[in-house]
Symmetry: C2
Subunit: 303 residues, 2 copies
């Protein structure tokens, strides 16, 4: 991968640091054959990953949801991730760079066929560490323009969105349609028309000073940033409720914002072509964005 | 992959024959990252694949359903597949062996991120050719024992089951639960309780001489063998209907059977612990199984 080489991407496969151009998995790996894998993404701030342990504990929960035995403990994955981040930052000119980290855990590889008796190797892991600088775009700073997808989110009884798996076509196809139609990304409804989450992020709205976000049981990822925001609302005395709502509540909201480890708190300025808060980031979003930045600083002991 | 080497598996990646132990895809390939891939499976009879072109035309339809641009034409994929099968059979002692062939087509690889602008290489393909002998088990010959899964099939508006993609967790998890509970495999209902299909096969039942199978719009794969069976029913004057039905219709059926390129026509002898036709293959299943074998012979000009 030329660009990965250029970006000085560092990859760790099962404990070994591998150059990007030879970072491969077998065609007999179940991640390749079936998307039979889990993943997590974190970013660093001044070199320190935010809530890494929380992400890895969620990965364990994802594994339980798909009956996958992870090959290592949270502490072992954490150690390998920190090692990989350190390897990235040890490169010339990279010592001050913040990174994007993706860990992918496969159920393993072996003979073709669903049965676990076909497994010949146990769960493998791949850690990819890259510059985070690829992410901040104008949209990232100012706000974003979203579409409510016509594609419904996976039903929890089919593939539970609480499980962060390598089966990403549902969200990916919602994204591709949104991008094709001129939007930055998409929010997805469930079959009843209730809003669930974005393709890679959670969603909130603000109406008359009250913050609202879909409840976990609508079928969404239990976002680390989502949880942090709910707690920040409590700390700041901002009422925050977990409720089901249709897209019309978003159209008529005072503010809408989305959250993820990469997007942090990102205002939505345009939804299905309708301006939210006249196309400006609102005060509650701004307060929570600042509070989140402050939380990161406090928690990671940054200046 | 030790066992693949032992089985003399032959792999073709983007036109090159590669030894199994070095048959890899990049960790930047979207098949690995998102399950953003399509696949088809065929088997050979006396070295000739059955309805290969039909499978590849379906792959083109799957590609259209997920806005994927295939890198090659049906004729080009066909040529590569035949080349790979020939390479398998050219090995010592393999000239008379029938094979399992799996083709996987990825959207390509590049930078991490859903956007197509991240693609740095166009669609890759992987062709895996192995001995078919790994499949016939006692169940294959006599009949099979299935469970009706509690896991519902993906909704067509979420991930359309008509698209044969690398997002296989929905069916795979249904399989794992069934296997764990002592069944060979599982059938999956939709949200309303109507039967859709098996984890890797279509389903039929027979009642008072009439054959029935779920219609395509319940959200299933348009199976090549399913279509062949429907046509055989017409040829043989057996009434065959595409209708929605709940699991109770299967419990009370005179016969139940499943179909796929590998299973052909396979009687279901036990469903959720209830014997079908007192645990014996029924006459209509037997007739269709024989008619299918005959169709294969006729079509491939076999003796």
């Amino acid at each position: 991968m030329l660009s990965a080489k250029k970006r000085k991407t560092v990859i760790n496969i099962n404990g070994k640091i591998i150059p990007p151009e030879s970072a491969n998995v077998s065609v007999f790996d179940r991640s390749f054959l079936y998307g039979d894998s889990l993943y997590e993404v974190v970013r660093t701030y001044h070199g320190k990953p935010f809530r890494l342990k929380e992400h890895l504990i969620r990965m364990e929960k994802s594994a339980a949801l798909c009956h996958m035995k992870l090959g290592h403990t949270v502490a072992q994955y954490e150690k390998e991730i920190l090692k990989t981040i350190a390897a990235y930052r040890a490169q010339p000119g990279k010592s001050n760079e913040d990174v994007y980290m993706r860990i992918v855990v496969s159920r393993g590889s072996g003979k073709i066929g669903f049965g676990l008796k076909n497994l010949e190797s146990s769960a493998d892991f791949v850690i990819i560490v890259e510059p985070i600088s690829m992410f901040p775009t104008p949209a990232f700073v100012k706000g974003t323009k979203l579409q409510i997808s016509k594609r419904i989110r996976n039903h929890p009884k089919a593939i539970d969105p609480a499980m962060k798996s390598g089966n990403y076509l549902n969200s990916l196809l919602a994204y591709l349609t949104a991008a094709d139609e001129g939007y930055d990304d998409a929010l997805m409804p469930d079959q009843q028309g209730f809003i669930t989450e974005g393709t890679t992020f959670n969603v909130f709205y603000v109406k008359r000073g009250i913050v609202a976000t879909p409840p976990l049981d609508v079928g969404i990822l239990d976002g680390v940033t989502r949880r942090a925001i709910i707690n920040l609302c409590v700390e700041l005395g901002i009422p925050c409720r977990e409720v089901r709502f249709p897209k019309e509540y978003l159209y008529e909201a005072d503010e809408v914002f989305v959250s993820s480890s990469l997007k942090e708190v990102l205002p939505v300025l345009d939804l299905d072509g309708k301006k939210i808060n006249k196309g400006n980031a609102g005060p509650v979003s701004a307060t929570l964005k600042a509070a989140f930045a402050d939380l990161v600083k406090r928690e990671l002991n940054l200046k």
